[in-house]
Amino acid sequence: MRFARKSTVGAAIPTASMADISFLLLVFFMVSTVFVRYRGIPVTLPQAEAVEELEMRRHVTSIWVSNQGIINIDDAQVTLDQVGPLIHAKLTANPRLVVSLKADADAEFGRLSDVMQELRRVEALRVNFATLREKEDASQ
């Protein structure tokens, strides 16, 4: 009695397109990467439901305001009078600038209002109050 011969069909994973796939992924990540430039100061952002996402990160500049009222732009602590000129310079370089106000939930509104008046003075009118998305259970 004869047994069937061993199958000669080889099993191989085609790797010819591997380089193409890896380069595709490489290009995707290169294009989508935006390096974190500034760390800011640690703040507890408030929560909100009607949250919109800012689209172009390169048009966004952030102003951090801590609960002590400390203002921080580009990792440098600034006084209130310096906010206007700094943002004005940024706005001249990029007219599509959106200012993201990253303020602590416990901050005083008066301080934020002062910052907003400075922004209005230099005509940086598009602002975004940075918030976290409210959790489902927190809203109930």
């Binding site: 290169m30 990160r57 209002s113």
Partner: protein
Amino acid sequence: MADIAFLLIIFFLVTTTMSQDKGLSLQLPPVGEAKKVKQKNVCNVWINDADEIAFYEQKQFTPVAFEQLAVEVRRRLTENEKLIVSLKAERGAKYSRFIDVLDELKLAGATRISIAEPEGGD
């Protein structure tokens, strides 16, 4: 070649931060361009130092609970679709309260929101 490509892929994978900036967007009014608006088209919402909310209409305050705010604003918006909601907070109010109220106004469908300069010194 493939090794180098994979190395670069891993590098970009690790450094990519997908988290986007998000929050409540608002257009501030320019300085010195005080538009005259009919008083009946304005709805004033006040937040005081103690984080209490009130409507200011016909020169009198009507306190409103936070839970009722969206309902009240929505009712006023259906009565008058040109309504501008003017949000005025005192300097001592908490920022989180201001965001909560702004959030409620946006949820209520108010598109014309203005932020008035606060009264009361430090």
